[in-house]
């Protein structure tokens, strides 16, 4: 009698475990069926809400299926390094150029056909040929409508180190765009001047936030009055809430604070679906996609002849505002990180 109970209990336990694991089996079967042999695998550091519509359109137009792995640009870059030559990825679409530079230096990318990037404006062109910019974003100064007077707006990013801005500024040292900006500053103005500026800002009580969205939120919340971020963050806030109490502006023309950054895509060297991958890159540089980037996401298109969103500054203004700089010169991210660490910012 007792052993019957125990046997029954063990059987029940086994059944329960099987039941617990069965959804996994079902899922696996369904998922494996969905993953077709010829589908492209894209690792995307760009968000799902932005990328999904593009993927749908691409699949419609070309019939090539794309499986997307979303994540942070940095996590995906580290994953690609860990996977090494065994990576299942065909494409890597990064939110900013730092990750692309790091992987490019490690020879992880396959060269792209020159016609893809030959026609791009100079500020978007990378001469390495291993990755190509898909959209641009300008660094801007976001400031509070309520607490910043007309005369208080700085004309150069270097002005922010001034005493009257003490305790009113926020930045995001861990953010890729910020680090790219510091790298650019080092290239154009030299390490010493950059280090001096960073130190002065830190001593002036610059508050640290985790990313650009948090900076814009902090301005709304009243914690800071100024922040340097990318141009589209505030625009997205304003799209949801036209009364948001902040505005943005460029610094004076040519100032390093107006750096133009890019999102970019590359094809992995190990990919054996090169043709389809190139088609995808071509699609991202097509008129439709470029209009999507500027219309829905408020970024700057890289394709000549595509008009930027009406809410953005015109391309001519952008060219006037942006500093003279080589995208490829910005590959020394390590040096920037070392500097930020030395100053205790990271």
């Amino acid at each position: 009698m007792q052993s019957y109970n125990i046997a029954k209990r063990l059987r029940l336990a086994a059944a329960a475990l099987l039941l617990a694991f069965s959804p996994a089996a079902v899922f696996e079967a369904l998922a494996a069926g969905g993953r077709e042999a010829d589908a492209l695998t894209l690792y995307s550091g760009r968000g799902e809400a932005l990328v999904d519509p593009l993927i749908e359109r691409f699949e419609e137009e070309t019939g090539i299926k794309v499986n997307v792995r979303y994540g942070g640009t940095a996590e995906l870059a580290v994953l690609l390094q860990e996977e090494g030559s065994r990576t299942p990825a065909d494409l890597f679409w990064a939110q900013d150029a730092g990750a692309l530079g790091a992987l490019s230096t490690a020879d992880r990318f396959r060269e792209l056909p020159e016609d893809l990037y030959a026609d791009l404006p100079a500020i978007y062109r990378s001469r390495t040929g291993s990755w190509v910019a898909t959209s641009g974003r300008a660094r801007v100064l976001v400031y509070s409508n309520e607490r910043v007077e007309e005369g208080e707006r700085p004309s150069s990013v270097f002005d922010l180190a001034d005493e009257r801005y003490a305790g009113r500024f926020g930045w995001a040292p861990t953010n890729g765009s910020f680090q790219a900006f510091v790298t650019a500053m080092r290239v154009v103005h030299g390490d010493d001047r950059t280090a001096d500026w960073l130190e002065a800002m830190d001593e002036g009580g610059a508050l640290r936030y985790r990313n650009n969205t948090a900076l814009v939120e902090a301005i709304g919340a009243g914690e800071i009055d100024f922040a340097i971020t990318n141009n589209y963050y505030l625009l997205r806030f304003l799209a949801d809430d036209p009364d948001y109490p902040a505005s943005q502006m460029f610094f004076e023309g040519g100032d390093i604070g107006n750096l133009v950054n890019v999102a970019g895509v590359a094809i992995l060297a190990e990919s054996d679906r090169r043709e389809q991958a190139v088609e995808f890159v071509r699609f991202l540089l097509s008129r439709w996609s470029q209009e999507f980037f500027t219309g829905e996401i408020y970024e700057y298109p890289v394709l000549e002849g595509v008009e930027p969103n009406a809410q953005l500054e015109t391309f001519e203004t952008l060219l006037e505002a942006s500093p003279e700089l080589d995208l490829d010169a910005m590959e020394d991210l390590d040096g920037t990180l070392a500097l930020l660490r030395e100053l205790g910012l990271l």
Partner: protein, 520 residues
């Protein structure tokens, strides 16, 4: 005769070792990466003063959170288990619900309260400064980790034999004296297990502290992976973190000592009599409801606010599919974790020795490994040994189970400590073998502990992010991934349905299991 001092049977050791061997894999990976380092760079990057400062912040935060969670969980557990307060089940479920809330949602909820553009300002015109720093981080972490301690304490309190307290009372001890001298020592294993889980969680947390702008040690690890895309120095920092873990776990074992909690005489196990609240009733009720309001009410308020502010176009099919994806990974992970934890907890309780201590320590190391490091380790080993498994669901389930098995150990261990070995001895003397004796006598008594362990793992797996991002099959979309991708683009209204789904489904699961866990 005490159970300790005897060697555990070989099959038990083998079963208990499986989880520990699993944890060895990520450890080996970290050591491998660490050896790729340039020693000078290690000096500059790892052993610098700033890291010490970050470490100090971490320890301060951990201590504050431990104090906070104890102050919340001990009275809560006592009130809901041992007093005559009404609606016990409801209060218990509500008090456990914060487990269902993802940490970043809770931190976001707290931050959204204040500021010129915050909820308080928009509803009442009152603009308080936003929560941040140590106080903000401690508040957020306390509010959503106290249930770990609460559940452990519940299991322990409910299992305390009333004859101890009755004996004490017959010897003339007053009620408060009994609580501090008799009841509290019984809770020591539960307290230590809960503190351990919470302490290790705080050591490794990055999400809530980042939102609260409080820089802790995990920040150093994060910036290695994120800024430098570097796995080598991140490995060094992770190993440092794990060294701390070993120290903390060792401390816990020392404090636990050789606690024996079972009834040594003859007699029947009974439910303890309820303590009448009397004049303290309104205070007790106020306390319980304040905690619930802060820990559950607040996130619910925020989510509702986001949903109402800009109603997103709800796509129930997508949310449902997302939920199915989350559950398909979390449920098997919970079962596997409980399975891995059971032999470890049993061995640790019945045959305390260096071996059992090491096995338990291994499980906690699995818990304390920075999730990104654990994920990369699984990538590394899967690609080299079983590439077919790479980016498949079973690998994700395994990673979850290895990471969270430690959560299940605490409740199960408390339950085993309260079950007398006499029962098994009696069964064996009647002719059963060891396994039969265990299954027929002790296993039913462990039900509450196993359930608590399984629930803890399920709920944390539902919210998990970094491992999921790296190991889930490409295209697999859990609820947590959906929430995160939308909140990081500041599309809060779109994130709300997914966050609400996590909270609701995890909450339902918690409620269902607590309702049916049965009584002794």
């Amino acid at each position: 005769m005490p159970a300790s001092g005897r060697r555990p049977p070989w099959f038990l050791l083998v079963a208990a070792s499986i989880g520990a061997i699993g944890v060895l894999l990520p450890l080996a990976y970290l050591v491998l990466r660490a050896f790729e380092a340039d020693l000078q760079a290690v000096q500059a990057l790892v052993f610098r003063q700033r890291n010490l400062r970050l470490l100090f912040n971490t320890l301060t935060l951990s201590f504050t959170v431990l104090v906070g969670t104890t102050l919340l969980a001990v009275p809560l557990a006592f009130i809901t288990v041992r007093t005559d307060i009404r609606h016990k089940r409801l209060l218990t479920i509500l008090a456990t619900l914060p487990l269902a809330v993802p940490g970043y949602v809770m931190a976001y909820a707290l931050i959204s309260l204040g500021g010129n553009y915050g909820i308080l300002a928009r509803l009442t015109g009152l603009a308080l400064p936003r929560m941040s720093g140590l106080s903000g981080a401690a508040a957020a972490l306390t509010l959503y980790t106290y249930p770990y301690l609460f559940l452990n304490l519940r299991a322990a309190l409910a299992g305390v034999d009333p004859s101890y307290e009755e004996t004490a009372r017959s010897l003339g001890y007053g009620r408060t004296e009994i609580f501090f001298k008799v009841t509290l020592p019984h809770l020591r294993p539960a307290l230590l297990a809960g503190w351990l889980v919470i302490g290790l969680y705080v050591l490794g947390d990055f999400g809530a502290v980042a939102l609260m702008r409080y820089e802790v040690f995990s920040y150093a690890i994060f910036t290695q992976y994120h800024g430098a895309f570097d796995r080598v120095y991140a490995a060094w920092l992770s190993l440092m973190l794990l060294a701390m873990t070993v120290g903390v776990v060792g401390l816990e074992w020392r404090l636990l000592g050789r606690t024996k909690l079972w009834r040594s005489g003859s007699g029947v196990g009974r439910k303890p009599a309820e303590v009448p609240l009397g004049r303290t009733r309104p205070f007790a009720k106020l306390f319980v409801w304040l905690v619930i309001l802060a820990a559950v009410g607040l996130p619910v308020l925020i989510l509702s606010y986001w949903l109402l502010l800009a109603p997103p176009d709800l796509r129930p099919a997508q949310v449902a599919a997302s939920f199915a994806a989350s559950a398909a990974a979390s449920v098997p992970a919970a079962a596997l974790a409980a399975l891995l934890a059971l032999p470890v907890a049993y061995t640790a309780a019945r045959y305390p020795s260096v071996i059992s201590r090491t096995l338990e320590r291994a499980a906690y190391i699995g818990y304390a490994i920075p999730p990104l490091a654990l994920a990369l380790a699984m990538v590394f080993f899967a690609l080299r040994s079983a590439p077919a498994l790479y980016q498949t669901l079973p690998l994700l389930i395994l990673a979850y189970a290895l990471n969270f098995q430690a959560l299940a150990i605490g409740p199960i261990r408390s339950a085993v400590l309260q079950a007398s070995p006499r029962l098994e001895e009696a069964a064996r003397s009647l002719g059963r073998n060891r396994v039969e004796a265990f299954v027929s006598t002790v296993l039913p008594l462990l039900r509450r502990g196993i359930v608590a362990g399984g629930v803890l793992v399920f709920v944390i797996a539902m919210k998990e992010l970094p491992i999921t991002f790296l190991l889930a099959p490409t295209g697999y979309r859990t609820l947590a991934m959906n929430v995160f991708s939308r909140t990081s683009e500041a599309m809060l209204a779109q994130a709300a349905p997914y966050a609400a789904a996590i909270v609701v489904f995890s909450g339902l699961f918690i409620g269902f299991l607590l309702k049916h866990e049965g009584s002794r």
